[in-house]
């Protein structure tokens, strides 16, 4: 405080333009640091995109846009293309979303409408803990526990049963390895269910109670209210939630690397080994020396993954936020 009291108790008035800035330099410094850190986050994304693009540039010069639809990944002939990995990334993520969607709808229904108040929180937390388990743990669990079970009890019977059917059978070809596209998709599904469910629950809880009560009032069952009132009302944000799950599944690395089988061949079969962009980067990087065409091809793959994830995540965010604005 610059105003002081003299002995008589009257306040010593200072003209406003002569008053010292309170706190001196500390405030501009502090506020500057706040802005600086905010801008740093902004710059970080630009740096990541820039570095990945520049790193992949030699591969872009060598292969051009053909890189995107070339199915070969051959270190011997030095011919690299991204098609197999883009296909694997999208295929495994789509399997994950298809499996995770009904699960998330069900769990969200359970948590918002069925669960007694006392169970709601512990079960909700348990579902969220599935998201906290590290990716590499899912990888080990998938590789050592799930894959052998898949081979024996799921893949063998399905290949025998559905493999001979024309067209549909294409999805069920090959030996029952346990690992492969389908197993990767299942593990990814378990990993994204908590994200989708949490956002579903958040959306469902924000629905005006009056809407639901009117539906109950005309005699709807709990499921009918969920199906015809709650879900349509929250539709946009829920699509956004699914997109977030998709975005997460696209870039997941360690879990997929363990169970996808890491084969750089194109196959329509659900049970065939494959590769995603992320698993290829993790796997091939140790054999890609600095300055090699392989390394820049991997960086180019990284750039492609970043672009795909960015679009999906940005779309997801726009949909989720549209409810709020």
């Amino acid at each position: 405080m610059d105003a002081t009291m003299d002995s008589s108790g009257a306040v010593d008035r200072i003209p406003i333009h002569q008053a010292k800035r309170i706190g001196g330099l500390s405030d501009p410094l502090f506020v500057g640091a706040l802005w600086g850190c905010g801008l740093l986050v902004l710059v970080l994304l630009a740096l990541i995109i820039g570095q990945l693009f520049l790193g992949g540039l030699p591969a872009l010069r060598e292969f051009g846009l053909d890189f995107l639809w070339t199915a070969s990944w051959n270190p011997v002939t030095e011919k690299y293309g991204a098609l197999v990995m883009i296909y694997g990334t999208v295929f495994s993520a789509v399997i994950a979303v298809i499996v995770a969607l009904p699960l998330s709808f069900g769990i969200a229904f359970f948590l918002t409408e069925i669960a007694p108040q006392s169970l709601k929180r512990p079960i909700g937390v348990a579902v969220q803990l599935l998201a906290a388990v590290p990716s590499i743990i899912y990888g080990m669990w998938g590789f050592f526990i799930v894959a052998p079970l898949m081979a024996q009890y799921v893949q063998s019977p399905l290949i025998d049963l559905l493999g001979p059917i024309p067209v549909l059978g294409l999805l069920f070809q090959g030996p029952p390895l346990g690992s492969g596209m389908f197993t990767a998709g299942l593990i990814l599904a378990v990993m994204i269910v908590p994200f989708i469910t949490a956002m579903f629950v958040e959306t469902l809880e924000s629905i005006p109670p009056m809407l639901k009560e009117s539906a109950y009032g005309v005699g709807c069952t709990t499921y009918e209210v969920y199906r015809n009132v709650s879900v349509p009302y929250g539709r946009t944000a829920m699509v956004g939630a699914v997109m977030l799950g998709l975005g997460r599944a696209l870039g997941e690395t360690m879990a997929v690397t363990f169970v996808i089988g890491n084969a750089t061949r194109l196959s329509a079969s659900l049970f065939a080994p494959g590769a995603t962009i992320a698993s290829t980067i993790a796997n091939e990087f140790p054999e890609a020396p600095i300055g090699s065409l392989k390394l820049t091809s991997l960086l180019q793959l990284g750039f492609i993954l970043f672009v795909i994830s960015f679009i999906v995540l940005a779309l997801s965010r726009a949909l989720v936020r549209s409810r709020l604005d």
Partner: protein, 277 residues
Amino acid sequence: MASLAARRAKDNAVKAISTGFAALAIVLLAWILLTLLAKGLPALGTNVFTQITLPPGQGGGLLNAIVGSLIQIGIALLIGGPIGIFAGTFLAENGKGTKIGSATRFVNDILLSAPSILVGLFIYQFLVVPFGGFSGWAGSIALAILVIPVIVRTTEDMLNLVPVGLREAAFALGAPQWKVVIMVTWRAARAGIVTGVLLAIARAAGETAPLLFTSLGNNGWSLDLSKPMASLPIAIYQYAGSPFDDWVSLAWAGALLITVGVLLLNVVSRVVLARTH
């Protein structure tokens, strides 16, 4: 419209299936935890904490990996913690309604869910190649980049819960912004900010992909941050994929340690938050 009985039956069927799905989620979590306990507990001797990684068949433990992880997480937090808290404070206090604020919030949300392996590739290009090699520093900075968006998000959310009147009261007393933020807003949101930091630690502790190309891993004992440094996730990755039984069981022991640690951090952060709100 279907008969009432049919509609009731459908309602009950969907309720039963949904309850089953919720039960399935719990079963999966239990299955993962029991697998870790069954495979990890027998391998979890004192050697895990007292010996470093050794060639197959010679026993050994994970001491260097545990210490390496702690060092890298610690540095990641020292770098990412302040940046994250400041950026989150910027969003809640200065960036509201501004274009730069919205852009930063958008970018932070993208970083929060962006593939972590790309952060590893970025640091490889940005630090490892120019500075001539894999290093503990590179690993720490990669983890810092993963820690920042988590802390930004929780800090902003928690500061938004602090009543505006509290800030206005402080400003009305003539306090400059730094005093208002440090002595009023941060103090009011302390528990929430701590929660964000705990969640960030949990995220950094389990991340493997960003360390593959940055700190690389190290089978020897090294505290030198300018050299490749061991970490628990990398050791698990290396050991789980090896053909040696003793290495695989050490991987399970490490997996048990990480998972229990990460889940405990998550539960503790929830308790901290629930207590204050």
